[in-house]
Symmetry: C2
Subunit: 487 residues, 2 copies
């Protein structure tokens, strides 16, 4: 009898919460097991009900959170799917991980779970400890300040505000607000509400509230009918793969983008709408999993600095280990830290890290009722401890190699179907010939028991949990081979 | 021995979680008890630590969530304060209420607490049930759709988007997007991202992200240095008190505001920036607790309709019973429901209710990773059941009478200090002669054991929990008398 099976049996004899560490894998089924097509009849019935109050067109299936475990999502029809999308890249430890269960079962945590404080006016000792012991240890080097928030979108919005305030403060040279600024601000007018801009990228995604949406350019459906800002939008590299065979051309593409970025800085300065910050993902995710080279990012940082703007790296989707490093921007060997780094999703809480000069000197400028949530930081702490104890970033690096090599093999075998395999860690993707093939492939994979995500026009992305191992990667690759044969 | 004291003793013999219902009051101390000034030395020490990573200037004291109970907040120095501000109006049942504790102690809830799903793609049966059994029963009449969100600000932002989409959809007369719209939207330009506006009010507050902030006009410090939209800003009534002695003048003020609102509709239509929606609080809260008459709101609704715009009532601070009705706008006897109603704070989750025509026909237009949180709806369900079982809205109505009459008496006694007492339910406020007196009064009250909130330039607001009773109101009124004597 295998060790893992023994461990599994031992776990069955204990309560789920007593199972520790890697045992979550021992609780998993041996592979996907499908009873119906997706969505099954029970999912469809629930979706009909949902239709009364919500638009159900984005619903894929109805989730059974009680039965889902580890890397496996179970739906209300009893279909067991290997989930490499993990609730839009937001579950770092898969489903029902004992480390997170323990947070809610520990009676010492009860009053923190029950009483959500307004942290801006009444922080708690536990929260202050969480800042120090949970958040600061993961801060990108040189970013001494951290502000928890509720979600990715409001993390970006508030980080944008911190950048606008930092910029105005520099120009004010320490002077206080003048009367004209105070009065005009109340009517949305300059100089109180100045005309300044944030530069973002074609294909970028930073959220869907008005400020974040003005920096989002992945798909028209997100933006149609919503008023926006006149902010500069630069091209982001579109590399040819395999990288090693297209170095010269890809370098040229870096040059093209950087030249346009430089132009945009000047154009917007000339039209009195100066760029105060540049907002960029380390890997454009929602837009189609597009990568920029370390050189591109190093030069982007240099350009941004030369133009007196701030560099914000949005790690909402890339942060917390999936790329094989804790922060994806660590892959770029930047000469210094970005100025602001935003996070959310796997962290369970939104927020941003920033250099101390990005902290407004006055109160109530970066503020809201909740300013984050201690309960979410309890969960994050459990996640970070598990990631460390179980070497999950190392695991992601190793599993990522298996996955990417497998995708490269599939690319060789099915060179008209599986295109441009790319990735860092398990944060991998590939393209398909067009959107209709891609969408059909996704449906086939799902019905074969693999839940994947799409992105951009023609890409499929992998966003598994950090407990996704070589064994799981091989199941996915085998199923992809089976499905590819049918195309 | 009094019954309440007996109950208190009985509770001491049980575990806290076994105490049910009104027994939360029996667990409370008999009144405030102060050991130090606020902030005490321990709070100050914690605040120094917080200073390393955050701006601590808005911190009032550091909260001991373990010791706080019912209407009483306890700080880390052991000061026991009667809290009539309740974490910026966000705790409906005070601290450590057994009904909320039970949510986290019930092992049936564990997998819902542990696995936060991406509800837009993978709703759960429990969530679908929560929509039906928790949210829909509290929907304002005629609003059939509900969309949970994360916080008040993003609830408003998404409601604004729903309104913009509704407006564009009407103008498009059911046609699909054209090529020019699709292309221009990706560059933040019209016609894809059209020039349309939301009307808001001087003194209004709707949040701090870019869209919400463009409708916020309560204080310059919220808005300074942040770019904004050219959106119309109308005056909101500024009544003279007592209302019954100033009817004619206050009616004139309604006329003044309504005339300007009508003008603004025309001005913005003329400059091709049509108003698609009007965004208004039923009681302007952050801006200074300013009220509008039922007639004002009825005529505002009529004007909005005549101008083909949507009426959004922001009940983030007023919703869930504090005004003596579940929704504050129920006081206005509007001929029909507002088109959209947003909520957050006491609800523990953000969100909005809307007429079904405000639900976009396409997926991914109102969307984000989480789309709310089932765990928060579990808490909301427990809150709503408690509010019903214990008749807490009726309690708030009765207690509000005692509180407002007491404030009116104080106004008579200290007519140069306690000005313009006003309110609905316990959602009460009064003005002071100027900001410096107001700020000083707040400090004195706090050091006397009453934690209150300020708003606007010169106001003090009451935002107690719904378990705030006549007994608590009298403690506050007595302390106010003591403190007023010193001024």
């Amino acid at each position: 009898m295998k060790a893992s099976r023994l461990l599994h049996l031992r776990c069955l004899l204990q309560t789920r919460s007593q199972c520790r560490g890697n045992s979550i894998l021992a609780q998993e089924p041996s592979g996907p097991k499908m009873k119906t097509e997706i969505p099954g009849p029970k999912s469809q019935q629930f979706m009909k009900e949902l239709e009364k109050t919500q638009n159900p067109l984005s619903t894929i299936f109805v989730l059974d959170v009680d039965k889902s475990i580890g890397n496996y999502a179970v739906d209300t029809d009893g279909n067991i799917m290997l989930d490499v999308y993990e609730q839009i890249a937001s579950l770092p430890l898969g489903y029902n991980h004992p480390a997170i269960q323990k947070v809610f079962q520990d009676s010492n945590n009860l009053s923190q779970l029950v009483n959500r404080p307004a942290l801006g006016v009444h922080p708690t000792p536990q929260f202050i400890k969480q800042i120090d012991q949970t958040l600061l240890p993961i801060a990108p080097k040189g970013l001494e300040c951290v502000q928890p928030m509720m979600c990715g979108s409001c993390s970006n919005e508030n980080a944008f505000k911190a950048i606008c305030i930092w910029y105005a403060n520099k120009n004010r040279s320490g002077k206080s607000f003048n009367e004209e600024e105070l009065t005009s601000s109340m009517y949305n007018k300059a100089p109180g509400c100045p005309t300044v801009s944030l530069m973002s990228f074609e294909g970028g995604f930073h959220g869907r509230t008005f400020g974040a949406l003005a920096c989002t350019h992945s798909k028209p459906i997100h933006k149609l009918d919503i008023p926006s800002f006149d902010w500069p939008i630069a091209p982001f590299p579109r590399y040819k793969y395999p990288l090693e065979e297209n170095q010269r051309e890809n370098q040229k593409d870096d040059e093209r983008c950087l030249a346009r970025i430089e132009e945009l800085f000047h154009e917007y300065k000339k039209k009195s709408n100066p760029v105060v910050g540049v907002v960029v993902e380390p890997i454009q995710s929602e837009g189609g999993d597009f990568h920029g080279s370390p050189t591109f990012f190093q030069r982007l940082q240099k350009l941004t600095k030369q133009n007196n703007a701030a560099l914000l790296i949005d790690e909402v989707q890339t942060g917390l280990g999936a790329t094989g490093k804790f922060w994806a921007h660590e892959h770029f060997n930047l000469p210094e830290s970005p100025d602001v780094v935003t996070f959310s999703k796997k962290f369970q809480t939104g927020g941003y890290f920033a250099k101390s000069e990005y902290q407004p000197k006055q109160p109530y400028r970066i503020f809201n009722t909740w300013m984050g949530e201690p309960a979410k930081l309890l969960v994050l702490d459990a996640i970070l401890k598990t990631v460390k104890q179980e070497n999950l970033i190392e695991n992601t690096r190793k599993t990522g190699d298996v996955l990417l090599n497998g995708l490269k093999d599939l690319n060789k075998k099915y060179s008209q179907l599986i295109l441009n395999p790319r990735g860092r860690g398990t944060f991998c993707a590939f393209d398909m010939p067009n959107a209709s093939v891609r969408d059909k492939f996704l449906v086939h994979m799902r019905n074969a028991g693999i839940q994947m995500g799409s992105c951009g026009d023609v890409a499929i992305r992998f966003r598994p949990a950090l407990i996704f191992t070589e064994k799981h990667a091989n199941i996915v690759l085998d199923k992809m081979t089976e499905v590819a044969k049918k195309f």
